[in-house]
Amino acid sequence: MYKTSLGAIGVFVAFVLFVLWISYYFARRTKSSKGYYTAGGNVHWSVNGIAFAGDYLSAASFLGICGMIATAGYDGFLYSIGYLAGWIVALFVMAEPMKRLGRFTFTDALDSKYSSKGIQLTAAISTLVVSIFYLIPQMVGAGTLVEPLLGLPHHVGVMLVGAIVIIIVATAGMASTTYVQFMKGGLLVIFSISLVLITLYNGLSTHPQPDRNEPSPVLTTMAVAGGQDGAPVPADPAYQLVATRETPAGLTFAKLSKAGRPSWWHLTRDENDNPVLAETCWVTTLEVPILDSKGNPVITLYNGIPQTDSKPLQSGFIKKLIYRGESRDEVRNLSINEFLATIKSSTIVRFLKASFKDNGENTTVYYQKPTPGRELLTPGVMFKIDRAKGATLMDKLNFISLMMALFFGTAALPHILIRYYTVPTPAAARQSTIVAIAVIGLFYVLTLFMGLGAMVNGVVDLTDNNMSAPLLAKSFGTTLFAIISAIAFATILGTVSGLIVAASGAVAHDLMDRFFDMQLTDKGKVLAGKIAAIVIGCLAMFLGIIYRGMNVSYLVGWAFAVAASANLPAMVMMLFWKGTTKQGITASIITGIVASVGLILLSPDMFERYGLARSAAPIGLNNPGIISIPLSLIVLVIVSLFTKKTDSAAVAAPAVSAQS
């Protein structure tokens, strides 16, 4: 597998030491609750703006989006567009009112007019639900990242990240969190720019070298001597046909043997429509473990070799390179436009996945799929949106729903909103949002080039596309790889700290102090916040370990859907409709959480995870936003209209702040 890089460990250790020093430095200055929850409220807007980027650009953005673009092209970039567009809602709707109305948390701002126990409780629960959904994939990601980079087992990685984050948050709360995020945001953008510039300079080639020291084996294609109706006969007599397998989707794979070594080939047709066998990368899961070269039992084989002895399965390359209308072997030193134009006119080999059983062993093959660059630079490779390619109305609604959740979710994420309290004035809140849009927008533009660069440079790990951006860096040298890997870590640290501050604010400030009215002193509030941060940090470590190996990135999608449904309609209506009542807001938050989580649990994607048929799902929708956001809004309006009178009576007598 990946070799541990000493450089990566060095950069990582240096970064961690620096982070711990920041925490120590600010710990002495953070004695008050204002210091702990809002970094004293006097962070400069430009620092806050970059810290926003450090808070927001999670592992999902850096690793996930680049990975998606590297495998599906433009469709991954749609996430970049949606995530950035969400900041428009933050700027135009949330930024100034959040700062004007709130003190420590999102709940404060929402509750500012009403002082309602119902709002305090439901908004705090919504904050916790969103933060924990968001936290789990980050922690699992931390463990996944630590395995290849530092050579540590998964649970050690999770505990390492958990422990560092607990130190960051429990020493100086938002103050240290802010500067960790500031540093991470800055580093991420600077090194992403470097990576893109190197990618452009390095250019495009039909024979990329992902690892300069060890040339990767070239996957071959050979003619078929026999007719396609019968068993395919390899043209090269050194190969013998062992077996063929057909998948339910109608693909045929042939197992060949050369000097006793097996390999899987895809029976397909070349550009002249002649039958050919194209070599695949393949993964076998054995029922009985075998021993690797070090004597450890393994059940996973890569191309027939124990996983631990083999190199990762990396692929993706340009099959036919067309530069300015001419066929070339390689072109170097490209501009942004030339890079995109060349990819558009070239043919790129992507790898698709198919699974079947061979002698009782689960076999997954990754077969070559030459794809016109033109297709990869338009939406529709991963998302079904084109009726000509069989997209149904439900597929289209799913797509619209996803784009809606990305747009409306950002501005409702509690760990983003609390950053509005770290600046002194609403004007500074606005200015820091603009800095955030500039930095995050620039980063998202870069994701397209990093993702496409990974796609054509043979660095995409077929079994885990999340490693695409770090592996692209690796193909340019181990120093860059070490730095990018350490930044990937920093990315997790920055986002997880923000999430833990948000969750600890919900527990200590919203619930203990406000909802349960525990009459804490200012020092008590800081202590409560720190204890809450430690407990939530430990919970995050626990969840990160038990969810090991599960692809939980969908939980980020849940977090966006819940935030957009539960928090946004309540906040917007509170600001812009005078008729909004506390009961309306409470009902809207509950509806938002229940509807979005409920719809997700009943979705085809989840039914597949339960091991049931997708078609058994009562609702064909995977992304709940298109239903749950309007539903939450309608409930707010109806409940507000019905409770209008009683509410104005309650306002007249503020002592009676009955729970709604």
Partner: protein
């Protein structure tokens, strides 16, 4: 305890104005974003049409990011002007409410 809505207090006029401008610019951006989603879902082939060496999908996608930044600068300029005109800079007293 009643902090009042976005339009109350000494800074009421500037805040009210900024809120309204914000809503209009939000609606403007939403329309452009919706246009992108509608082309994707109703006529995806249009996204592949050439614009120079690039295509509509790339130009519109980058355009959405650049447009967001442009609107942000315009909004900031308008808001800053409004704060100066109404002569009520958002000061500490207005932002640090006591509980």
């Amino acid at each position: 305890m009643d902090h009042g809505p976005a339009g109350s207090g000494r800074n009421g006029r500037a805040a009210h104005f900024k809120t309204r401008i914000g809503i209009w610019m939000f609606i403007l951006y939403s329309i452009v974003y919706l246009g992108f989603i509608l082309i994707c879902t109703l006529n995806p082939a249009l996204m592949a049409s050439d614009i120079g060496g690039s295509n509509l999908a790339i130009v519109y996608g980058f355009g959405l990011i650049i447009f967001a930044l442009m609107l942000a600068f315009v909004y900031n300029a308008i808001c800053t002007a409004a704060e100066e005109e109404f002569n009520d800079p958002e000061d500490e007293a207005d932002t640090e409410r006591e509980k």
